[in-house]
């Protein structure tokens, strides 16, 4: 029992937790931006698959790692554009369109993978991002290595949270994004195009989701394989609700979640097969549902979420 408890104080545990949290942070921030603008993006799961592949493939073809991240982001933004076009000016059901985007993005990815790499049996590898210890900060016991001995993409995740929070609350464009998710006619009346703000937000959010996917192939692992996203997109959607649509709270949610995930893997090793491993693998999903139930009642969601807007209608 003490053994199970001591895990919490090992640096390796927290290092793993932050590593697991990183893709979720990108994905959660991406979904948060979309939903703050009033658009639910269920395309997230597929967009992450596409980002994971295109980022990785760019590097596999000899591109620079950061070029890979950029290509992944652009891939995400393109699917975001499609989702935005279908749901904003056309006003299609965000649920159905989102599922459609997920199906399209993942099947296109698998199709492309099979065309580009037809003969491979075991997935080829790339040289991924390496951990970089931030001087001084990484010497803090336990937390130092956990937070500051990670790959540059994890640092980018931190920066993303700060940037999303700053933009949403401190800049004109952020005010416009929040207003468009609360009451689009308020934005229209002030001479800003609701369509442009919403599509822009969905594209930016989708770009972040794709970087989240790319983290898996370019930082956590070094190759692309099918099913590697494995529900992380859906979990990010739950984390947005859990974080009450606020970047800071969502970050805490992502880290808590990842810590739990890292913990169950270690617990699994300790219990040594007495409990079926599937139980442990289920826990993240169960936890997400529990988190939703806990916060659902008092969540103040963006008022215009999932409601299409028609110009001149109020």
């Amino acid at each position: 029992m003490t053994e199970a408890f001591e895990i919490l104080f090992t640096a390796s545990f927290w290092v793993a937790a932050i590593r697991i949290a990183s893709p979720l942070i990108f994905a959660t921030m991406g979904e948060l931006i979309c939903e703050r603008a009033g658009v639910l993006n269920l395309g997230i799961e597929g967009i992450m698959v596409a980002g994971a592949f295109t980022g990785w493939f760019t590097v596999y073809m000899g591109g620079d790692l950061w070029t890979g991240v950029f290509v992944a982001a652009m891939t995400g933004a393109m699917f975001g554009l499609l989702h935005g076009f279908l749901t904003v000016p056309l006003g299609l059901s965000q649920h159905v369109t989102g599922i459609g985007i997920t199906l399209l993005a993942s099947s296109l990815t698998y199709f492309t993978y099979r065309i580009l790499l037809p003969e491979v049996t075991s997935p080829p590898k790339i040289e991924p991002f390496q951990p970089f210890a931030v001087p001084v900060l990484s010497d803090i016991p336990v937390l130092g290595p956990a937070l500051f001995n990670q790959t540059p993409l994890t640092y980018l995740a931190y920066v993303t949270v700060a940037a999303v929070a700053f933009v949403l609350y401190r800049t004109p464009v952020g005010v416009a994004v929040r207003a468009v998710g609360e009451n689009p006619s308020a934005v229209e009346a002030q001479g800003i195009s609701v369509t442009a703000v919403r599509i822009g937000a969905v594209m930016a959010g989708s770009a972040l989701m794709a970087i989240g996917g790319a983290f898996l192939t370019m930082s956590a692992f070094n190759s692309f394989f099918f099913e590697m996203i494995n529900g992380r997109g859906w979990i990010a959607i739950a984390l947005v609700v859990f974080g009450s649509w606020r970047p800071g709270k969502a970050l805490i949610g992502a880290i808590l979640f990842a810590a739990f995930d890292a913990y169950q893997v270690r617990l699994q090793q300790i219990t040594g097969g007495i409990i079926p491993y599937q139980i442990f693998l289920m826990m993240p999903f169960v936890l997400s549902i529990v988190a939703l139930v806990v916060v659902a009642r008092r969540a103040t969601y963006p008022k215009a979420l999932m409601i299409p807007y028609q110009k001149g209608e109020r």
């Binding site: 464009v173 416009a176 929040r178 609360e182 006619s185 934005v187 009346a189 001479g191 001149g312």
Partner: protein, 516 residues
Amino acid sequence: MDHAEGPEAEIVLRLAGMTKRFGPLVANDAISLSLARGEVVALLGENGAGKTTLMNILFGHYTADEGQIEAFGKALPPGDPNAALAAGIGMVHQHFTLADQMTVLENIVLGTRPLWSFNLGKAEARRRIRELATGYGLDVDPDRMITELSVGERQRVEILKALYREARILILDEPTAVLTPMETDALFATLKKLVAAGLSVIFISHKLGEVQSVSDRVVVLRGGKLAGERVTSDATRRELAELMVGGQLPVNEIGPPTPGATLFELRGVATRTMGGAALKQVSMQLRGGEITGLAGISGNGQAALAALIAGTLEASEGNIIVHGETARHWSPRTALDKGLGRIPEDRHATGMIGDMSVAENVISEAYRSPRFSRFGFLDWTAAASFAGDIIKAYDVKCPSPEARVRLLSGGNMQKLILGRALDGNPDIILASQPTRGLDVGAVAYVHARLIEARDRGAAVLLISEDLDEIQTLSDRILVIHRGHLSKPSLRGELSVMELGELMAGHGVAEGAEHAA
């Protein structure tokens, strides 16, 4: 307001030959209009006359099929909301365009700075807002959330939004509909100050009294056409009314009431909020053969009271007593079973299911009765013939019982709701904002039906934000303020100003404990 009259005044806005068609409907038919510097022009017309369409064109939300707009001597490009704003035209919409979970300041600065700057310029904005607020009597704290503001305060934010952008022309769409008489006076005082500062105002309304007290000139629209134009001081009220309606105003005769027994009673009822005030210890009685009017400013608990009686909101304490029996359980179903007829506030959101047919909609309260279903199977023939009956009896204009309700006009939708609610002659009737957004003919029709129900002995509760309507129809008047009810007063007992005092909360809370 005697500034800038006469031909030498500078014309700041000119609309020439504006025409807008929606399919076969001509919403605006060659309307021309001009506005001088420092002038208040009232745009008078009933619902559906084309006022809102005209303003939506001016603001670039719609593009006109024909016609030109000129602001300060320059042509305004069509279909560009930014052009109107940049030309110095500001609009206060009837339904506020504010983001609720954001501050006053954020709402005001929205769109005034380049989107991609790193700074909201809050300090400077705060200073300017305070300056404008004190200058024009528009007191609001820039750092409060919109949700925390009263309706009157929200309107001030809307005006501030326009002034912050240095609007020189201000358009107000039915601005008094949501205000107390005192707030209305304050608004008029603000308008005077604005005009004195050289702004021009277009004041959209269908209320003759306020049009006469606030404007220099009146432009009347009817059925999408320009019906006439008058200098306010030269026009009589009657003349304006006839221009607006195109004939005599329909008048309903209402005889003296013959009050009967108490049919419905609330005793010490409290509820949670319904997007306005919650009810606090509310007691009231509705007697047969009487129309009880509930006056009050929007958001003071009318929605909660209506939802409570309709059965969609539960009481957290207190009792509902129907026909002398305390109801143990109260839901839409029990309300219907006890013989309530209910007309909801919002036809589109609550009253009707737009994507279903007329027949499917009229049976929605009675579909489980043997009249419309047997062994779980619906009798569509019976439903269609019932719909046909309502269409005939209530003179609903619709192609067939199979037509989708979404395609009907507001007046026809309301007639369907009346038909459904009054089917079987209910003796308790809840009418919540029953004439909102209807034209004069439809309003008169709804009123006639309510009076008819009262005359056959039904107890009618009329909830309305239109004080004129309350005063015309009600035998007894209650005023609601922040979830408390005033003592009832009889028809004609209190003046408009006295009712206004109650609506503003003077004397309501004290009276609540003793309310009959």
